[in-house]
Subunit: 228 residues, 2 copies
């Protein structure tokens, strides 16, 4: 029986489309039939994760469970979530799930340890993700040192993330270049694109540097899970 | 109750990802929550449609019904299929469906009639799609005159489609320009990109002319269905 990938998506929708495209492009396939079946629930009614964590905003878990139930009705073999911040809620989702989750932060941390041994990761993400310490802990468990942006740098990231979510095409590379120079000075050797809009930011602005894309790592891990 | 789009996909997977991305980008939205919920079953185990039609290959309908059932379990409000050739089987699918299909060829034909009244469409597609006469009939029903490529022109199209499928980046515009000149001479005023690789061909070669992209038209129609 071939395995099926379930994507609990919509956080945001473009990042979900990006993950799906990466799964297709990264699958070893020479015709349609070599590809892996993928079921997606892109549910943009899931309330903002950052607001829920930092400001006591609406709990996103009920809408996430609605998507989880849809995926399980379709008998998916694993569940992946293309939203770093959403992983804050993964233990609550697992209480209801009958299907294994592949944790995007864990697979990213393992990849960092393998690709850049002894080096320091600069972690980018939403304020919500970074304040929860989710990445720092996942990286520590994989033996990876990390540094975070300062407050000004964090504001630059949030501005870029919300502009991409709003459908804007970015053109001005200067704010991101300044953030990268500041973080290099603070010890960062490479950067983790720890919000699913950030690969799109980097693709549009194309700054020089080394990057680890958790969306691509999640795609790689899900493909390996299904083809092993 | 907000409406949900169901995508019966996997024919091929990259075209499915392209349609999903177009839906996200074409939806009027300024934040995640403005987007439309989309359920996708990308089922690449659906047998080759062209082979089934032209060579008596395996019937794709049972695997298409498997995806249809998944989408209906998730209570989608409409079903769309990002594969021109798959529409050959739409009446058999409708016999089993409890959900309205939006027909890509019909919405494309209506758009042609609205955008280019009285003009003649040059129809591009795979040999399989064109031999079924699917596009010619849909265009006739919308009152749109059309012309097809000649045999040499059809070989040019198939060559470009397979080079894009093989991952090549096209540079030589001459064969396509010659095809367009021949079809202009035969009466074509604009061109329908009736195979999911053709928007990529046109994006890469950027020939001057007017084009209608059925994937974009399908996205537009599904968005309108959900937001009306």
């Amino acid at each position: 029986m071939k395995k099926t990938i379930g994507i609990l998506g919509g956080m945001g929708p473009l990042a979900t489309a990006d993950l799906f495209r990466k799964i297709v492009l990264m699958t070893p396939a020479s015709c349609d039939n070599d590809h892996i079946r993928v079921i997606i629930d892109s549910n943009p009614q899931i309330p903002d994760r950052t607001r829920a964590i930092l400001e006591g905003g609406e709990d996103p878990v009920p809408q996430m469970l609605s998507a989880l139930e849809n995926l399980e009705k379709c008998n998916v073999s694993c569940i992946i979530m293309p939203c770093n911040t959403a992983h804050y809620f993964i233990d609550r989702l697992r209480e209801h799930a009958h299907t294994p989750f592949i944790n995007m932060l864990e697979v990213t941390a393992k990849r960092c340890a393998a690709l850049f041994p002894g080096k320091t990761a600069g972690v980018w993400g939403t304020t919500g993700t970074l304040k929860t310490g989710l990445y720092t802990r996942a990286l520590e468990q994989a033996g990876v040192k990390s540094v975070l942006p300062d407050e000004k740098g964090q504001q630059v990231l949030m501005d870029l993330i919300y502009r991409v979510k709003g459908g804007e095409t970015l053109k001005d590379r200067a704010p991101l270049a300044e953030l990268m120079a500041d973080m290099h000075a603070a010890g960062a050797d490479y950067f983790i694109l720890g919000c699913t809009e950030l690969p799109i930011v980097v693709e549009q602005l194309n700054p020089p540097g080394d990057f680890v894309d958790p969306t691509a790592e999640l795609a790689r891990a899900a493909i390996a899970f299904c083809l092993e």
